[in-house]
């Protein structure tokens, strides 16, 4: 059942030290800024963060990294023109990086949400990113075995939600949100607006409410 809240701080207050937190967004698009800011204020330490990038500028995810509370980041594209916060932490050995091809990042979270134990995937065969991984030829093609990425919490941003937690997104801000929502023990979604049950077209719901534990209108 979905709790409808207005306070981002309340929504993330039980994230413990050491948690793995999936954070939605592709760069700024779809990044749940208010929830990330709340997580920063909350101050949980020793976090593992999963995001496509590693923060932009000095706000949101970058500001969270700057606290030093993120031990490890799992992402596909940390290096950007405005990723200076991450760059400094990385170069000074203060953050661990697991670099994952973007499709594996998405599919490994999907696997976590779908009960798949592992899957054979063609991405990265013969490259340094799959070195040491189990490899197998299936029907004449090479594959590498990849494992699920499960979160303790997911913090995502959607466009609108209804009272039972159904979500719709907006344009390319959808990106990782729907996948992360399925892959975490507790999913917190920030939305611009909450409508009554029945206020969203059932044919157009992208994330069914079963995946959403808390809905926040910050």
């Amino acid at each position: 059942m979905t709790a409808v809240l207005t306070d981002p701080d309340e929504a993330v207050a039980d994230i413990p030290d050491g948690a793995t937190v999936l954070i939605g967004g592709f760069g700024p698009a779809g990044q749940p800024i208010e929830l990330v800011d709340a997580l920063r204020r909350h101050g949980a330490r020793d976090l593992t963060v999963v995001n496509n990038n590693a923060g932009n500028g000095d706000t949101g995810l970058a500001a969270l990294l700057a606290t030093g509370n993120v031990r490890k980041i799992i992402c596909s594209f940390p290096r950007q023109t405005d990723s200076w916060v991450f760059d400094d932490l990385y170069r000074s050995g203060k953050i661990e990086l697991e670099l994952v091809p973007q499709g594996n990042l998405a599919e490994r979270m999907r696997a976590a949400g779908a009960g798949i134990g592992a899957f054979f995937c063609p991405t990265g065969v013969g490259t340094p990113l799959t070195e040491g991984k189990e490899q197998r030829t299936i029907d004449g093609r090479e594959y590498v075995l990849e494992y699920p990425i499960k979160g303790d919490f997911a913090l995502i941003k959607a466009h609108r939600g209804d009272e039972v937690g159904n979500l719709v997104y907006r344009k390319t801000a959808r990106n990782f949100g729907p996948v992360m929502a399925t892959a975490a023990g507790t999913t917190v979604a920030q939305v611009a607006e909450v409508v009554p049950a029945g206020g969203l077209d059932p044919e157009a719901v992208v994330t069914p409410g079963i995946y959403v534990d808390r809905l926040v209108t910050p």
Binding site: E203, G209, I210
Partner: protein, 205 residues
Amino acid sequence: MSLGKQELAAVVAADIPAGSYVNLGIGLPTLVADHLPIGNGVTLHTENGMLGMGRAAEGDEVDWDLVNAGKIPVTETPGASYFHHADSFAMMRGGHLDVCVLGAFQVSVGGDLANWNTGEPGAIPAVGGAMDLAIGARDVYVMMPLFARDGSAKLVDKCSYPLTGVGCVSRVYTDHAVFLLEEDGVAIRETYGISEAELRSRLAL
């Protein structure tokens, strides 16, 4: 007295926590829907791609594009959503449903479930989504008559029918008793029209 089907369905319904996401299997479990308290936020899932399934459709409500897992026309509740089969089974297999209620041919005291095939010669097997629910729902409740027509118990030491899932059932709701299948054995939570001693003797528990 032993329970009738509707009474049994009411017992199961009363045990489903408010706010749960629930899948009711084909047959006997379908009856549970009618006994869920209105407004306690239980959301019904149907494997063929819907959350927020409502009651059976009547009269003009019948729409053959809106059916349950048993292909019976149903209705939609406010807050419903539709999704395709891979998404629906990802939901089931990924551990997101709180409870499923299934019928069974046999359940073992260790929680093994047999509900898809009697293994009779000439029988055509059909499994549907039973194996996915068995491994996927957080709690698997079984609802069945305790005794077969020949008087043999359906709660058994070891299933003789082909299995649907291993060690997956946590509770068995029957016309004669409710059983909790626990780590250290079978607990009888309540009995209907039969003493616990007689039950244990007939079941060889």
